[in-house]
Symmetry: C2
Subunit: 103 residues, 2 copies
């Protein structure tokens, strides 16, 4: 199992339409990639830092996949459509990372 | 439910003893805070970016808590010991964030 994190920095200078993201973008991600190895999607909304500062990330999606091979096939099949949807809810750029469970 | 993420940037100039982190630090976290509202701990090891670059974060721990109040009580009770253990495995500083599930 691998986890892809897609985090949108909490930059007040950028637009982020959370309603579109939650009601249109994430359902599209699940619809296109469920059945291609996407196991689960968890969306986290940043509240702040433990000491009361602003959250570094506004929104983070954690996508669990069967394997890097499944991820590659899914991106090849639907990546253009899904990444092409990003400008519909933000003019910011996500920070993406591929990780594996440890420990 | 809230989620606290504790991420160690993937900075080659910093030391990070993953064996100590996984075998001593994380078990201490679980031992001290289970029973105080800590529901689960997920540790992710960064592999890279989707386009083959280095992972922004070396290690991220995701701690799910019953509530911000439970988190506050747990930090008050054992925070000094747990945060004081960080120099035993790294000279880097974690990026921390409190989030809530969305969608």
């Amino acid at each position: 199992m691998i986890v892809v994190s897609v985090s949108y920095p909490n930059d007040p200078a950028t637009r982020f339409d959370e309603a579109y993201y939650l009601q249109t973008h994430i359902p599209m991600v699940k619809q296109r990639w469920s059945g291609m190895g996407l196991q689960s999607v968890q969306v986290l909304r940043g509240l702040g830092t433990p000491d009361g500062g602003p959250a570094p990330m506004r929104i983070t999606a954690l996508l669990a996949w069967d394997s890097t091979e499944a991820l590659g096939r899914a991106v090849e099949a639907h990546g253009a459509e899904i990444f092409g949807d990003i400008p519909n809810f933000t003019d910011g750029r996500p920070v993406m990372q591929v990780s594996e469970p440890a420990g």
